[in-house]
Subunit: 336 residues, 4 copies
């Protein structure tokens, strides 16, 4: 249950509600917001009787939530969240951001060359994996901290803020020292200890949808980070696993407007992992912007045929430059 | 195997190849094309040895096809097919068409009111089901021939050509008497007797993708109609069935550019059945055009809340008018 | 709505109920049963007000059904249906039947040799396709009527009743002249005109589950045949299409006890199409019997490596003989 | 690449091969086995040229592996692995084990009551979650270390070894102090840091298949643990996510014989999470044994209607007792 307080509820009214909840043997979690304050009621194992709560002074309404998420929902916060990252704003009404770079950081030469190129073409962020989740243990697993250092070097040279993946709770601190935005990969969307750890920092988190996660589960994963205190959560749709094998995943863009109906969080699209085919990436990147995504993340590699991972879905540098031109025109049409 | 003849191969050279194939105990199917002539080799149960064929006069090359489709592939015909229907052209380089109307024809008043409205808003075709495939036998199954007559009446009044579904081989003749384009529904995509029967007429066929059909199976279904002699086949993507239940189906628009890589046939998108939610239809219709679809088909109902089927996914008339305005602007941006 | 009459309701009471329904502008469909009579109410477009019906003499109860099937449900008929086919009984409490034979009838020699072998090993029915639904039009499509004649010949020689597929409404009569049980393939599960046509005959119909059909849709397809008047419907689970490609389909046997909870119809399992791998067929055939299937249908071919279709999933004759020995032992354990 | 040494290869021959590999800039990982020694070659980014290796003294063959797993494959170790856990043996040829208990440890009374009951009925292991991965953060997350202590108490009283879930790398040590077998849940199947950490201990690990993991990905996850040095890996099939919503997941038991073809690791089945419905659990548990599973894990709760999680799929105590009787009879039939 969520207890929504009146706009002008006093601190003592809020305290009185908290006490009433605790007398019921439940946990009250105050959630201060810019528009209104709410008190989440946790610890219940079934429907909570709100008789003793709803008429207390300062209480506006009691919302009984059956969904596994509360705080990231539009019901709770109707206003769209806009997240500031290193001088950029991500969210509704802002020009969509473009995050570009290789799947994995492979060498200083590779990441610097890519960073310069995507910066030159107009990208807003540099992506690159230092810790790589790979299906099997016998393939390239990333350069780890060395990769993080190379990303920081690329940022220093180009000014591009850096997005990179974090795979386990105990490396959150390490990755946060180097990255401007921390990415949770699809395979870790329900790695709840990792999500909770990310909830304790304040750096923005880019949360990718799990391969077979429903929208409800996706938002509930965001709720883990948000409820822990880190409100800088950006969702990333990257396709789901279906019976179709002609593409790597199936990218259903209708989830973008749907997520925007259900949640106030920003949401971007990764057309590279979604399709797995270079030739499809530009079309899907543009379609993502048309349906209202707040950004796109695309893989770019100076020599895709030599990439240690995801070569077939990486754009070449000239390919990325062409895409950026098309994106600029489309943004003009869309009014940004 | 497909034997491709030289541009200037003579009739007697073609006959000689056919004879050679038949001497091998196989069937030779000449496929005259505007660019080149080909001879399909059928009846083989395994790899065909082309030693006796490939060096015959007039033979350009022998293509061994392992895919279940040949004639609808780009390999066979590199040039995109454009289909003429009642004064409209559907295909690459043409302004995308808009097909609009109710899920089912319900009454004279309903179909005429809708037809006038969608005509006024700029639709190119009127859709409406007279034969309705329904999950269970105890719900409204369509007005059948009476529905076809009402569609014809609406065409007479508005000038809009009519698209309607045909469900069985023995009603192909009946439906073809009333319709300008015959639709095969998703449930019948592999109703091969129906496909073969549609191959014998010359009216355009709108073939919807089956709920769990791969792209390969989708194109092979088109091949059934095409190989029988009817080359007026338009494909229609309408979402696939996945684990996600927040939308009716999952609409992966990346199949549009992919189908255009694999096949020369035109392809359109039905965002209404794909999403099952009115609020998502406009976004996905526009995204379909951005990724290169040759048209969209949307459900429109004057009173969706009273519709006998598919109300929740039907646009209202004002909703459709707004969508058409946005589509016109987008077409301008896209250069049509 | 379904109006259930008392056990001893008189004909005039039934007529009075029918008249009352018709006065409401609806269609009343009397459904005589061995245990009780019911009257299906059709033609309604929304909830039916039963005020004028439920208190009429002889009415036991009014069941408002939201599912797309009524008559095949356990709610309607609690007693399990047992179907008699050419001296065999298929259903609850009966020894499970074994249907065996090649995917397709290929030649007299092939079908006779297989028929003798499976008869010798203890099969109850011979299967074999004469009309073959194939993904593409350029592969072997079956021997058609010639194949039906060969099946009849094999029946004459071995005494085995014959199961074979029918693909279109206009060939139902032809196939019914030769077959003891008519099969509807997975691709045609929602070919509603075919289902309705099969509802008009009395020969048993083996209805295979569609590749992406829910259980509810599967039962609703059975309802099409049943409601038309043919109560001899046997369901056949054959695996569903999922993301897993290591097997041809995914065979979830838990649907067997679940279907038996929901419906009174018999249900069998086809482990050959479900798995697509010969090595997995025996395990899954035995598991099917353990979970309560009323039979299994397995593909057997004298020379699988030369089969025109489905070779990799066909058992050899010695393989089938071994399976039958194991099945006999298992039946003993299960108490048949 | 995997270099397989001759049965009688000497240590100096092995050292020579390792040196040769290292001279190629690659990593050589010796894998001592009871039947033969092998040397895994890691670090390559493409096909490895084996010219300098294959003719060295003592080398039997060089296997080029394209699959993401090597050491858990039958190719590498043809003999089935049998794992010893607290006096029990799990694997081929051994009586299948039964693991039973509640989804979550909820209280001392609940776990002790369940432990005594399942022990009395013949279970081999007690299961119970102390760390619970839940879709949303606002529901019961487990008793954590307190839950582990209660499990240890139940073991002390009943003698049943304990299986419980571990969710993050930093709690592996804690959980290992209390548990006899550590479970990795479906959501964490590709939590690679967790898998690697589990590879460093020697306690048996029960690895559940991810909701949308292919068999290949499942085995590759096992390879992460195995390659790190912990060879006590037991796989657990628990159903996959599909379009079907009538059951919680879809349990395709054909993966059991298939995994046994591909891998030497033991594999068990969890019919409770697979089906999500109490009424289907006994059928699927028995079917699992018939297809060759080395054990089953079932949820049992003294009062399922009051369970904090997974009540609808938990067997009651009398229900479990009935299942154990049926399992004993079936084991007799199967020859254990």
């Amino acid at each position: 249950m969520l207890i929504v307080m009146h706009h002008k509820a006093t601190d003592s009214q809020i305290d009185a509600v908290i006490s009433a909840v605790e007398r019921m043997g439940l946990v009250a979690q105050p959630i201060p917001g810019s528009e209104r304050t709410a008190i989440g009621v946790l610890g219940n194992k079934a429907y909570v009787d709100d008789t003793n709560i709803r008429d207390l002074p300062g209480v506006k309404e009691c919302i009984h939530v059956s969904k596994p998420y509360k705080m990231v929902s539009r019901d709770f916060q109707p206003r769209s969240t806009v997240i500031r990252v290193s001088g950029h704003e991500i969210g509704e009404g802002r020009r969509p951001v473009v995050i570009a770079g290789p799947c994995a950081v492979e060498s200083e030469e590779q990441i610097l060359r890519t960073a310069r190129a995507v910066k030159g073409a107009g990208a807003d962020f540099l992506r690159g994996g230092a810790f790589k989740p790979r299906t099997g243990p016998h393939t390239f697993q990333g350069l780890k901290e060395e990769g993080l250092k190379l990303l920081a070097l690329a940022r220093e040279e180009t000014g591009l803020p850096v997005v990179t993946e974090v795979m386990s709770p105990d490396t959150v601190g390490l990755v946060a020292r180097y990255a401007d935005m921390l990415q949770v990969g699809a395979r870790n969307m329900q790695n709840f200890d990792l999500l909770r750890e990310l909830g304790k920092i304040r750096a923005p988190v880019l949360l990718k949808r799990g391969m077979s996660a429903t929208i409800e589960e996706f938002l509930a994963a965001g709720e883990y980070i948000y409820a822990e205190g880190n409100h800088n959560v950006i969702l990333c749709e990257r396709g789901i696993r279906t019976f179709e094998t002609a593409t790597r995943n199936s990218l259903d863009l209708s989830v973008i407007p749907l997520i925007k109906e259900f949640s106030h969080l920003p949401v971007i699209v990764d057309p590279s992992h979604a399709t797995g085919r270079r030739s499809l990436v530009p079309s899907m990147a543009k379609a993502a912007l048309v349906v209202g995504a707040h950004g796109v993340m695309v893989e770019v590699h100076p020599e895709p045929e030599k990439a240690l991972s995801d070569g077939p879905q990486s754009l070449t540098i000239p390919g990325f430059e062409r895409l950026m031109e098309e994106i600029r025109k489309l943004e003009g049409f869309l009014g940004y």
